[in-house]
């Protein structure tokens, strides 16, 4: 075991994780979630055109590889005269992708709230938008935390694809160290371990969040 290599490669990788992987995942997830809410609401709006657009979007995002989406944005768009830097390219691709998956989760979560809750909001005079914000979404949030956490954890790992468009995240650091040292096994295992620890921390966060949101529900 090459302990020196393990030690010397740890900090570049961890710092790639903390300064690129995690921020990339967080930013993409936040933007993706916003977009997902819009798409989910379009789907359940009852307006045929909006609903069809939303369905089409989800179908395209889920039916094409994330890597291809990433390459279309970073390598493809320049031929149309649109050149986007690696970081924004990655954030755009990841958030568009997350939105496709999260939209379906949010749609299901919103529909899982009993119809009587909408009616209770309406009978005290609330508009649909106000009922959604004050009554429905807080309850839908509780339902959607476990599946959204899944999506987020997948996203954290998928950010490794950004290495292919030159974003200096965790895996790109690993690749550089590995090719320089020719110790592929050690370095890539170490990278895997760091991803795993990140995801363990996130899972703990998920449990805490679920507990918090479960306070008011009978078990």
């Amino acid at each position: 075991m090459d302990w020196d290599l393990l030690r010397s490669s740890f900090w570049p990788m961890l710092s790639g994780g903390l300064t690129a992987t995690i921020p990339l995942a967080l930013a993409s997830f936040a933007l993706g979630l916003l977009l997902a809410l819009v798409i989910a609401l379009m789907r359940i709006s009852g307006q045929p055109v909006l609903s069809a657009i939303a369905r089409f979007y989800v179908s395209v995002v889920r039916g094409t590889p994330l890597l291809v989406q990433l390459f279309v944005i970073f390598y493809g768009l320049p031929s149309l005269g649109v050149t986007i830097d690696p970081w924004p390219s990655a954030i755009i691709a990841f958030s568009l992708n997350v939105a496709g998956y999260a939209a379906e989760i949010l749609r299901a979560a919103i529909l899982s709230v009993p119809k009587g809750q909408w009616e209770a909001g309406h009978t005290i005079g609330m508009s649909r938008a106000l009922t959604l914000r004050r009554v429905i979404l807080p309850q839908a949030a509780r339902v959607s935390v476990p599946p959204l956490s899944n999506t987020f954890i997948s996203l954290v790992k998928d950010t490794s694809l950004a290495s292919l468009i030159l974003v200096g995240e965790l895996f790109r650091e690993a690749q550089q160290i590995a090719s320089f040292s020719q110790q592929f096994m050690i370095v890539y295992m170490e990278a895997a371990a760091i991803y795993w620890v990140f995801c363990l921390v996130l899972s703990t966060g998920q449990s805490a969040l679920e507990k918090r949101l479960d306070r008011y529900v009978a078990r």
């Binding site: 009993p114 809750q117 309406h122 005290i124 005079g125």
Partner: protein
Amino acid sequence: MSPADPLLRATALQKSFGGNQVLKSIDLSIDSGQVVALVGPSGSGKTTVLRCLNGLETPDGGTVAFRDGPAIDFGPKIPRKDALALRDRSAMVFQTYNLFPHMTVLENVIEGPVQVRKRPRREAIADAERLLARVGLADKRDDHPFNLSGGQQQRVGIVRALALQPDLLLFDEPTSALDPELVGEVLTVIKELAEEKWTMVIVTHELAFAREVADEVVFMDEGVVVEHGHPDQVLRDPHHERTRRFVDRLLNPF
């Protein structure tokens, strides 16, 4: 309309779901301070009438007019917004309470006044506490609904409706989801409201209660009002065979 006019007048209300005509042509007139009990077999359209009055359903035809407005003529293309204006005048108490599970009892009650009516929070809280105390739930203000019994939840449901100070209270089978021993505590509250001259329409299967509290009983069957009148007349000496059969069945179930 003048103050002598009824608080609410509904004429020729019609409503179909799919091919099923639930309301054929319903006329209803409610005076201020009056308690009207809507009774009838299940599927007779009672609940749908209530929901039309509150704007939860949009009738296919007919009119709903409150004294001093709104007065709405439901045509084929009535804008949804207009139907919603009805909600400012009435509030509904649901069979299954439909309290907001993520809010405390107090938050449930002040939600409408604060978010919709834009009343100052402190005022709304003071009113809510007073109302909760009246139904014996002052000590439950910080509990979440799941910690309450069905009877307590329904009393909160009533207080949530009262907090909006509506001109008309609508009760949709308020005790049907309750265990029998909890029915009394909810009926007691409704009876007190009747004594305070709240205007109420109550869909109920509790005929004894209807006879005691209601000023008028409306018997519906298959989407029409079969007969209406003083409770003693409709429930003891009905003019119509259908009413007679319904009352008999409820009084002698076996």
